[in-house]
């Protein structure tokens, strides 16, 4: 079974059980991985979230605690430790016009021999170019 590295948008949809048809097919046919920085970005987003109909009235500290529990990743979703890819991340960030987050996504996909899959609403040209230059398969997924 092959790995796919997914971004934080797709990860949120999976954790919230809001996968569309294309994402559900991806989940069914691959082992999932994400990155440290995609995960951190999702956690930061949850910490600043104001909540909706169900949780919007909760006190901020309680919403944050809820977010902590709900974003506890299942063991089936792999995140490579930086000790394995940190140097490569730094190298890619230096050589390519890409953020640290983008460099980690490409480095993780490279290390795993995986495809990199992102939400088509957040398709970064720098990450796409870095993936192409590194020989990584880059795919966008519509929700």
């Amino acid at each position: 079974v092959s790995h796919v590295v997914i971004d934080d948008h797709l990860l949120r949809d999976i954790l919230a059980a809001e996968e569309g048809r294309h994402l559900a097919r991806l989940v069914d046919s691959n082992e999932l991985a994400t990155t440290n920085l995609y995960y951190v970005r999702l956690c930061k987003s949850a910490i600043s979230a104001r909540g909706g109909k169900l949780t919007g009235e909760w006190a901020a500290d309680r919403r944050r605690e809820l977010g902590r529990r709900l974003l506890d990743l299942p063991a089936s979703i792999l995140i490579l430790p930086m000790r394995l890819i940190g140097y490569r991340v730094a190298e890619l960030a230096e050589r390519q016009r890409v953020s640290t987050l983008g460099a980690e996504a490409v480095a993780a996909a490279e290390h795993l021999g995986a495809s990199l899959c992102v939400w088509d609403g957040d398709d970064g040209p720098g990450i796409r170019q870095a993936a192409r230059a590194t020989g990584i398969s880059y795919r966008t997924i519509s929700l």
């Binding site: 919230a16 987003s45 016009r97």
Partner: protein, 45 residues
């Protein structure tokens, strides 16, 4: 069962996912990511 530290929340199967969808909607997360456009570490470049 979700242990929140200050209390335990017992929810039906599937409700935890719905809570996450409520806490952080797809649109809210997209807006948060968009707000990081100039962040050299976390932006989608």
């Amino acid at each position: 069962v979700i242990d929140l530290g200050f209390g335990v929340l017992t929810v039906p199967a599937g409700e935890a996912q719905r809570l996450l969808g409520d806490l952080l909607s797809r649109e809210d997360h997209a807006a948060y990511v968009n707000s990081l456009a100039n962040d050299p570490d976390l932006a989608t470049t």
